[in-house]
């Protein structure tokens, strides 16, 4: 196969860092080429250069053998390069096909040819197996469909090289499978795909070749069939990485936490938890598997006092906990790593020290007489935790928004674990983190378990559930549809329960389609 694209000696400097350091990369026509690396390794910068959003300080781009200058996205599009960003760029009140033609509307006697455009978009959607309903409004369709719409936009503009920037970060496992199917279809039709990711498992599954970046440098390019997960992980991180979590068998203690017959409505008033009962003992991790949006978040927020419990009881050490409010729940030594760290877990505009006391700011030693803050205690607390949890940079005055995702999560973990929680809720604790940080957070969770905390782990990543849990419950449409010890669990069994049936029928597809009707 010939090279459709060659990047030669690309260097890009930002103040203080070399984001891309002399990177040379060949992309073959018609391949799926994975670009992997930890957060901040320079993958996105490199692709933004290719798409014309940044201009390289040094280096050249050869497209189909010819030297090409790309200084703005329009040129990239004209050269048949399309890019799907992690954050979609869609106009929500418009329909799918209106979004597709936006900016390059087909005209007929001075008017937009809506009918012709819709036909063309529908044809493309069918040809590549994208399964998006062209007349639906964007705000009504699922995230997976919105992503396929972004792909459709690129194809409509005749993209031959498609860059997908961390496309699976926003998808459920089922949607990821669907995306991979689409990628295979595209490849069959001759499209070249550059797939940015930091999830090694996905890269092994879908790519033909894989290039690894680390700290702005290209570590190497491998044929996917000739490499392995541990090898890629080591290339990414620069040292050997434990992909499997090391843990002893759980020392299961007395029952500390339970919910019975819990029912919860979300903020819109829809019943999302429909009678859940659970029990968690000291020293064990109960993993809740399930496709996102099946009531897990509402259950967790009811337990933590953020949502009202409509019916049912929540007990900690035999005492009722429901509807006490978030502050009272916190005081009962319940730690909580929330699903959305930017929305719930951190105040990004506060510095590290102030974030380290969030939720404990009403308690001594952080507040003294007359509600006056104890600056010394706040500072000492932050300094101690930053060191213990290796938060980098170790500057407690620095605004949290400037930290990497991994370090932000460390700040949350440090805060929640520091008060020796009796019961701990970890909701998607490693979402969006790179391998090194995942390893760290996982070992901290196990450490809390071994110290005797009972832990409720909610995760959409089956890998994470399987490697951390001692028992696994599967949640589907607001109910627990199965529970088993870890020894009896496997991916296939859980997968079919997650889709709502023992028969294992593929309901994932239906669910996505349902949004369009």
């Amino acid at each position: 196969m010939e090279n459709i694209l060659e990047l030669k000696n690309i260097t890009k400097r930002f103040p203080g860092v070399v984001a891309n350091d002399n990177i040379s990369l060949d992309i073959k026509a018609g391949e799926i080429h994975a670009l992997v690396g930890e957060n901040g390794s320079g993958k996105s910068t490199l692709m933004n250069i290719l798409y014309g959003l940044y201009n390289a300080d040094e280096g050249e781009i050869y497209l189909r053998g010819e030297k090409t200058r790309i200084t703005e996205p329009k040129q990239a599009i004209d050269h048949g390069i399309g890019m799907v960003f992690q954050h979609f760029m869609l106009v929500e009140p418009l329909t799918v096909f209106e979004n597709v033609i936006l900016g390059s509307e087909p005209q007929k006697r001075g008017f937009i040819d809506f009918k012709g455009a819709e036909r063309e978009v529908a044809r493309l959607s069918k040809e590549y197996g994208l399964k998006v309903e062209t007349k639906s409004r964007v705000e009504d369709i699922s995230v997976g469909q919105q992503q396929r719409l972004e792909i459709l936009k690129a194809l409509y503009r005749k993209a031959e090289i498609l860059i997908l920037d961390e496309p699976t970060a926003v998808l459920t496992p089922q949607e990821t499978d669907e995306l991979f199917q689409v990628m295979r279809n595209l490849k069959e039709q001759g499209t070249t795909i550059i797939f940015i990711s930091h999830k090694i498992r996905e890269v092994m599954e879908i790519s033909d070749r894989v290039s690894v970046l680390r700290r702005g440098k290209l570590v190497g390019t491998k044929n996917t069939s000739a490499t392995s997960r541990p090898e890629l992980a080591e290339m990414m991180v620069g040292r050997e990485v434990l992909l499997e979590v090391e843990k002893e068998k759980a020392q299961r203690g007395e029952k500390i936490f339970s919910v019975s017959d819990l029912e919860v409505r979300d903020q819109r008033g829809t019943k999302r938890v429909k009678g859940v009962s659970l029990e968690i003992h000291s020293g064990e991790i109960l993993g809740i598997a399930g496709v996102e949006g099946n009531g897990q978040q509402e259950m967790v927020e009811a337990i933590t006092g953020l949502l009202r419990t409509e019916k049912g009881k929540i007990y900690l050490d035999g005492k009722e906990l429901q509807n006490l409010g978030a502050m009272q729940v916190k005081k009962k030594r319940i730690g909580y790593i929330p699903e959305d760290r930017h929305k719930r877990g951190l105040i990004l505009d506060f510095n590290v020290a102030d974030n380290m006391i969030l939720g404990f700011h009403t308690e001594p030693p952080f507040v003294q007489r007359f509600f006056i803050r104890n600056e010394k205690a706040i500072k000492e607390n932050a300094e101690k935790l930053v060191e213990e949890y290796d938060v980098r940079p170790p500057n407690i005055q620095q605004q949290v928004s400037t930290f990497s995702g991994g370090n932000q999560q460390k700040i949350i973990a440090a805060r929640e674990f520091s008060r020796k929680p009796r019961f701990l809720i970890c909701s998607q604790p490693t979402r969006g983190l790179d391998i090194g940080s995942i390893e760290f957070i996982h070992s901290q969770i196990i450490d809390q378990r071994d110290k005797g905390a009972g832990i409720l782990l909610v995760s959409a990543e089956l890998d994470e559930i399987l490697s951390l849990s001692d028992r696994i419950a599967v949640m589907y449409e607001g109910r627990i549809v199965g529970e088993m010890p870890i020894e009896e669990a496997d991916e296939k069994k859980l997968g079919s329960l997650m889709l709502g049936g023992e028969a294992g029928e593929d309901k994932g597809g239906d669910e996505v389609e349902a949004g369009t009707k």
Partner: protein
Amino acid sequence: MKLEQSSLTSREIITPIISVILALLVGAVFILIVGENPIEAYWVLFSNSLIGVSSIAATLQRATPLIFTGLAVAFAFRCGLFNIGAEGQLYVGAMAAVIVGVSFSGIPKVIHLPMAIIAGMLAGGLWASIPGLLKAKLGVHEVINTIMMNFIAYFLTDYLVTGPFHGGRWTPETARVFPTAELSRLFPPTRLNTGIFIAIAAIILVYFILWRTRFGYEIRAVGFNPTAAEYGGISVSRNMVMAMVFSGALASLAGVEQILGVHGRFIQRFSPDLGFMGIAVALLGKNHPVGVFFAAVLFGALRTGAAAMDRLTDVPRELVVIIQALIIMFVAAEELTRRLIQRRRRA
């Protein structure tokens, strides 16, 4: 590196200063159009507002109510609320203070004056609590409600000053408050009064509350990220209401100072948009108490010098209104201002 701290960052100090300089430069063009020498006109403007005891006193006197309204807007803003109702709150506060000021005689000043001030603060705080409650409980936007509350305040005080508390003269004003309820003049004949000390105390208090107390921590947490605040056990609605109450009490002090320290009585629609000027003061002062002080003094100086400039040169006093508007525009267009700076650095 970005630091979150209670002091202003260098950028937060530089952009307002640059904005003021740019505004004065553009203002100079207008002075040239009038046919005067800008340097001379500005000299008259600032020498008559910043040099000499009586000039400085006059400037501080004009700054005093702006400090209060600026702090009011800044405080609410720290909780994520845009209080456009300072104008109404100061009218209601002033009226309450006047009612106490004219209704009790023969009690000592140490009791009467604080009583009048506290009555004003309570009235302003309560007045502002209404949009606060509506926002917290029903999610009604505070901008709409504070604006509407302004009109209610205008007409309510119109009624009170022409009806039940009319002072008997033919002008729409109340009777004069008893001397025991007055804020004493410091440098007669200027109208600078002890209200300036209350203003400075308020600056320190607001700073202390925001960055040194649990209440301030919660206010700022709600302002930056209400969902995370909720996660941390902080009641978003309670803090919003409390922030509005505080903001309203601060705004009302502007009215109280004008009544008990300057006019001695409530005059119908006495405020030259002090509440709305507070928004500009908070904007220029970057919602920081110390910044608010300097912004208020600058605006006070412009107003004070304007009269002299009008008298001694051909430049009309309205020029300072143009300059104020330009300052606000440049501060609001912070990005533009910053680019101008960067380009000059590169060149």
